[in-house]
């Protein structure tokens, strides 16, 4: 019939035999995910804000802190508090923008293994975390040297290497918490609000409970992950404190993360 003729008239399509492409290496996916964290104006300034806030907090400490209390700890503390908010935001947005901005349609088509993409995002987020915290420590150190010189006091280095490590761990757990809320909620405003509720509202809300309920006060470390992990910033944790972080972290971080990952792997990307 006419259909057959139409096919015959046209040049017979040349068979395309090509070698099977090599699989996408994980390092490449991490590189792309890292790039995505910087390539929008909001992403770029969120990253810049790490450095900017470190400098501002250092300057504020120089100006406002009592001269005899100037120490590395006071600088690190001033920089550290805003850092515990910004770093989780970076983690939240790394995940949620795929859904909120619907970029995931392309991302998960180019790499049809969502687990690999999510793992790459965790790696990229933690990489940003390491660099951010290193910058924060460095800016704080410069502030400490400058501050003690200006004040004419001797420079105090009162943060041990061990404490620096637990501070980093605390920030990393905060980022993972942001990440967890990201995979669980998969919506930028929702997950950011979720993080603020977790980090700022919940501790205040639990305060009266701890004040009036002895049972809760005595066991708070086992139940309240935010409370338990706060000990990481002070360093010198006891075995019990580590155990409390592990137990409460399992409930607050590991379980929700597992549920969130399952949702991400199974849900429909639209």
């Amino acid at each position: 019939m006419s259909a057959t003729t139409a096919t015959l008239e046209r040049e017979v399509p040349r068979a395309r035999t090509r070698p099977a492409p090599a699989p996408i290496p994980t390092s490449r996916i991490v590189g792309v995910e890292l790039r995505k964290m910087f390539d929008t104006r909001s992403g770029f300034w969120l990253m810049m804000s790490v450095g900017i806030i470190a400098v501002l907090a250092t300057a504020a400490t120089l100006v406002f802190a009592p001269r005899d209390e100037l120490s590395y700890g006071s600088f690190a503390g001033a920089i550290g508090v805003p850092m515990t908010i910004i770093l989780p935001m970076i983690a939240v947005l790394a995940v949620t923008s795929e859904w909120s901005q619907r970029a995931g349609l392309t991302t998960f088509t180019l790499v049809p293994h969502r687990g690999r993409v999510i793992a790459a995002k965790v790696a990229a987020t933690l990489l940003v975390g390491v660099v951010s915290i290193a910058i924060a420590f460095a800016v704080g150190a410069v502030g400490n040297v400058a501050g003690s010189a200006i004040a004419g006091v001797s420079t105090t280095w009162d943060i041990s290497l061990g404490n620096a490590a637990t501070i980093f761990l605390g920030d990393a757990l905060g980022m993972l918490m942001g990440f967890t809320l990201g995979v669980l909620i998969r919506n930028s405003p929702g997950a950011i609000v979720g993080y603020f509720v977790y980090a700022l509202v919940l501790p205040v809300a639990l305060e009266p409970l701890a004040a009036y309920q002895h049972w809760f006060r005595d066991h708070r470390g086992w139940l309240d992950f935010n409370f338990a992990s706060a000990a990481l910033y002070d360093g010198g944790l006891s075995g019990t404190e580590w155990a409390q972080i592990a137990v409460s972290g399992f409930v607050w971080l590991v379980l929700p993360l597992a549920i969130g990952l399952r949702l991400v792997l199974r849900s429909e990307v639209k």
Partner: protein, 299 residues
């Protein structure tokens, strides 16, 4: 080649795709037609692994999509041109695809040129793009890996007439070089001009599929005569189904040769005689999907 095998997708009690099977072959443009909400996009999302099928499967060149080692080099996908981070520039979005696939960075500029996006347009953020520009960017992303299969959901949406012509030529050339093209559309004219094969879907079910020539041959003939009533009588006498529109147009299932022969023997002067092709696809579409049309039995 794309193979879809008894694919079903259900959401609770709602069946979005119902036992759909078809094949899009190399060297041909396969048009995927259906009214809004018929299940076209869902079927396409299943093909590329974004939606899980409830039953059945889809494969690209014989393998499930998820098993392709670097899918961008084998399948070009454009499902929704607007599904991009609005804050990225067009160039950046292409660069992300180029890097993911591991292609040389020069490909980005080549593709921008191929889809006629200028340098300054490429450096604008996608939030400021028109739909047509987004479609061009999406086509560039789909083509950058030089894949042998293209899956495009409504790629002509938002393009101006010159853009539509450009898209048509591009896809034709692509198929002529041995590529497999599957494109969905509700723009009937577009599909009719470009597609070799048609798959018509309504309410999640395939209502017709085959080569365009075969499907449209079934659409019959449109004929006009100075005295249509005589023509209708003569045609009915030969046992074919005939209908007469108020404007005097006679439509029949019979092919044009038969109608011409009848008119000649009856001595009827025809003012127009043609195969129902141009109106045919629309007729066929409305008729086949009548049950699933929002407007009710439009045909």
């Amino acid at each position: 080649m794309i193979t879809v095998d008894s694919l079903s997708v259900t959401y609770g009690r709602f069946t979005a795709v119902d036992d759909v099977s078809f094949t899009a072959r190399p060297g041909r443009v396969t048009g995927f037609l259906g009214p809004n909400g018929a299940g076209k996009s869902t079927t396409m999302r299943v093909m590329v692994g974004l939606t899980r099928p409830t039953h059945g499967s889809a494969s690209i060149s014989g393998r499930p999509y998820a098993e392709l080692p670097n899918p961008g080099l084998e399948v070009g996908v454009l499902l929704d041109a607007s599904a991009q981070h609005a804050g990225r520039t067009g160039r950046e979005i292409l660069t992300l695809a180029q890097r993911t696939m591991g292609l040389p960075s020069a490909r980005v500029d080549q593709m921008l040129q191929r889809v006629s996006l200028t340098g300054s347009e490429a450096d604008r953020r996608v939030r400021n793009y028109s739909l047509g520009m987004r479609q061009r960017l999406g086509i560039a992303t789909a083509l950058i890996g030089d894949p042998e299969v293209l899956i495009l959901d409504e790629p002509a949406n938002g393009l101006d007439p010159a853009g539509i012509r450009w898209m048509r030529d591009l896809l034709r050339e692509y198929a002529d070089q041995g590529g497999t093209v599957l494109l969905s559309s509700h723009l009937l004219h577009e599909i009719e001009v470009i597609a070799d094969d048609l798959v018509v879907i309504g309410n999640g079910r395939i209502v017709a599929q085959g080569t365009k020539a075969d499907l449209l041959a079934a659409a019959g003939t449109v004929v006009r005569a100075a005295n249509p009533l005589v023509l209708v009588t003569e045609l009915e006498r030969t046992g074919v189904t005939v209908s007469l529109s108020p404007d005097g147009t006679v439509r029949t299932d019979a092919d044009p040769a038969h109608v011409g022969q009848v008119a000649l023997s009856a001595g009827i002067a025809l003012t127009e005689l043609r195969s129902a092709d141009s109106a045919g696809l629309e007729e066929m579409f409305l008729e086949l999907t009548a049950e699933s049309q929002r407007e009710g039995a439009a045909a």
